[in-house]
């Protein structure tokens, strides 16, 4: 049964597209490795949450974003920004707290925004951005756009009140065709050190949406092709219906929760090793070789290129200037040249 589906899926996929997305996934992996290194060197402050292991999810879904669509996510947001087309230099510069950063050095790793490309931000309070995404979807319809909102959230966020309130609203508004939102639950098995098993008595994340009248499905988040298939189908349905929909992408955070976590008491090395067998990049490499879409040499070439791009991004970030002191008091209020709170 599963095999049948797999062949069906593959038939629809064009190898060139897979290679293109492979390139993006490798770039994100490189970016994350470099950001962790820079964190250890003290060049990046605050919290740093990397996406390693989950690349197929963002690649599969975001590559199908249409111009009018919007995207919102939590703090594990580097991949989302890069895959929507942000310049790795500006993304890295943001992590370094530089004026050339995506949000001028004012948000850091957790708050990448690229409104021109539809990225409505990364947010740091778990679950807190979920209502925003629902409102964004409503606004799209209110304005007569046929855009949809891809709303990313973690398994941990599903346990928050904000999520449940927002999901209920999405179900309700969707009944009138006013909520074209796709909840993408990135179930990476953990919320920091709390496993899914220890955080909910009902670990069927897709199933939880039923309580709110929202249809859902699960997808293998380690398989780019499966994600592409689900995204392609679901996004067009939601665009058409204006009804909320949920996809639980089953994936795994191979990296530690944050770059400062060295010991992982909450999971075993064996478990991580096992999931590494399903590393989405490794799986995709094998698939591309099987399809004869690439050879080993080509794969290496792609990796080398990503490495160069990221090295350049790190250099750019390192050499960029800090935000000028005047920036401290800008962007507090809109439409005001002189902020009253300025000392």
């Amino acid at each position: 049964m599963a095999d049948e589906k797999q062949t069906e899926v593959s038939a629809a996929v064009d190898p060139e597209r897979l290679v293109r997305l492979y390139r993006e996934m490798v770039l994100v992996r490189e970016f994350e490795e470099a950001s962790q290194r820079s964190f250890r060197q003290g060049k990046i402050g605050g919290y740093l949450h990397v996406y390693t292991g989950q690349e197929a999810v963002a690649a599969g879904f975001l590559s199908q974003k249409k111009e009018e669509d919007k995207v919102i996510t939590a703090y594990r947001d580097h991949a989302h920004a890069l895959m929507l087309g942000a310049d790795p230099k500006e993304a890295m510069a943001e992590l370094f707290g530089k004026r050339t950063g995506m949000v001028k050095g004012k948000g850091g790793s957790m708050h990448l925004f690229d409104v021109d490309r539809g990225l409505m931000g990364g947010y740091g309070i778990v679950g807190g951005h979920v209502p925003l995404g629902v409102g964004i979807a409503y606004a799209l319809r209110y304005r007569g756009s046929d855009g949809i909102c891809q709303l990313y959230l973690g398994d941990g966020a599903v346990q928050t009140g904000a999520f449940h309130e927002a999901a209920n609203l999405a179900g309700l508004w969707g009944r009138d065709g006013m909520c074209p939102v796709v909840f993408i639950v990135e179930n990476n098995q953990y919320a920091m050190g709390t496993s899914v098993e220890r955080s909910t008595a009902n670990p069927d994340f897709a199933g939880k949406f039923e309580a709110y009248g929202i249809e859902s499905e699960k997808v293998d988040g380690m398989s780019l092709e499966a994600v592409l298939e689900a995204g392609g189908r679901v996004f067009e349905e939601v665009r058409e219906s204006g009804k909320a929909y949920a996809i639980e992408a089953i994936t795994y955070r191979i990296a530690p929760h944050g770059a400062a976590d060295f010991f992982e008491k909450y999971r075993t090395k064996e478990e991580v090793r096992e999931w590494r067998q399903k590393d989405p990049i490794g799986l995709l490499e094998q698939r591309l070789l099987d399809l004869d879409a690439v050879d080993e040499e080509k794969l290496q070439e792609i990796k080398d290129e990503a490495k160069r791009t990221i090295e350049e991004a790190v250099r750019f970030a390192d050499e960029s200037e800090e935000p000028p002191p005047e920036e401290l008091y800008t962007d507090v209020y809109a439409g005001e040249d002189e902020y009253l709170g300025k000392e």
């Binding site: 919102i72 209502p131 964004i136 927002a166 507090v332």
Partner: protein
């Protein structure tokens, strides 16, 4: 100008703005079919339809957050908090998203949002339903906070709030919805950060906002009977705060009493006192005093509740004290 109630002034402002601007829409619990808990939005569902007058379930975090998302997309939602007592559930959305997202997005988005509803007590609602949240919300950069008291200001500040590109916390004096006053017809805006001199005087400055302004005006009448001319300043806007008008008044009167319904510690009156001593220290002839609510959760019994809120007598007494008169 026509005489209107506080309630009518509010509704008029929202109606006019909705007629003028398609991007204005309302959200809240029971604002549509039910007509609004305090009848502020009565009839608007019929006028504008359910796409623009959205009855929400009891999900303060959910619908406040959704409204923030809408505002980031360029809509101008006006959210009704049935009463501000329920806003703690939405506080994460208000503080962590609405107030800050412009800053942490490096100016890429703005949040033209109004959250409005009745604030303060006085009608025996007891502990969980009695709060004055002006200093709570006034604490956060990124928010604007207003607390108008006259129907004219209510209309003018609501229109200004809806047109403002920032999140505005609109604190209504719930106990005054039925009070009347002259309200200018049509286009009438009142800018933020401008206090109103509600009564001129030369002997002592009484600073207040919201319902306490009326109390101070009554106290000023009483003081006048004894030949004391009190100046009453209605702050109207808590953030931004019009420091200048307060300072100017104190330079003239040399004495000030700041009156608030909320608890004494860390309140607006403490801020007023601090600003006066920083900026008009040399003009002061007496310490700035505060008249505040009692430091207890609000009780139910009428007699106890009355003891909790500033009274006319208290204001008169404290005003006399800063004038070094026998009390």
């Amino acid at each position: 100008m026509a005489e209107k109630t506080y309630r009518e002034a509010l509704k008029e402002a929202m109606t006019e703005e909705m007629e003028r601007d398609e991007s204005v829409l309302l959200l809240g619990e029971d604002i549509g079919v039910y007509g609004g808990t305090h009848l502020i939005t009565d009839g608007l569902l019929d006028m504008f339809g359910k796409k623009r007058v959205i009855d929400t379930p009891i999900s303060e975090a959910g619908f406040t957050g959704a409204a923030i998302g809408m505002a980031m997309m360029g809509l101008r939602p006006v959210v009704e908090m049935m009463t501000w007592n329920f806003s703690f559930i939405a506080a994460d959305q208000i503080i962590q998203n609405a107030a800050k997202v412009r800053y942490f997005s490096g100016g890429q988005v703005q949040v033209p949002l109004v959250i409005r509803g009745p604030n303060g007590g006085g009608v025996q609602l007891s502990a969980q339903h009695t709060h004055s949240l002006e200093s709570f919300y006034g604490h956060f950069p990124g928010l604007k906070v207003v607390a108008p008291v006259t129907p004219a200001d209510v209309k003018g500040m609501m229109i200004s709030s809806i047109r403002d590109p920032n999140p505005v916390i609109f604190l209504e004096a719930g106990a005054l919805y039925g009070t009347r006053g002259e309200v200018p017809e049509g286009e009438h805006t009142v800018p933020f950060g401008k206090a109103r001199v509600a009564r001129e005087g030369s002997d002592v400055t009484l600073v207040a906002y919201g319902r306490q302004v009326l109390l101070c005006e009554r106290a000023a009448e009483r003081l006048a009977e004894d030949g004391i001319e009190a100046e009453v300043i209605d702050l109207r806007s808590i953030r931004p705060l019009d420091e200048e008008t307060v300072i100017e008044s104190v330079r003239k009167t040399h004495r000030a009493v700041s009156v608030q319904e909320q608890w004494r510690y860390y309140g607006v009156s403490s801020e007023i006192a601090a600003i006066i001593q920083e900026k008009a220290f040399d003009y002061l002839d007496a310490p700035v005093e505060r008249v505040s609510g009692a430091e207890v959760p609000a009780p139910y019994a009428r007699n106890l509740e009355l003891m909790c809120f500033p009274s006319e007598e208290q204001v008169v007494e404290v005003a006399r004290r800063v004038l070094y008169q026998e009390v």
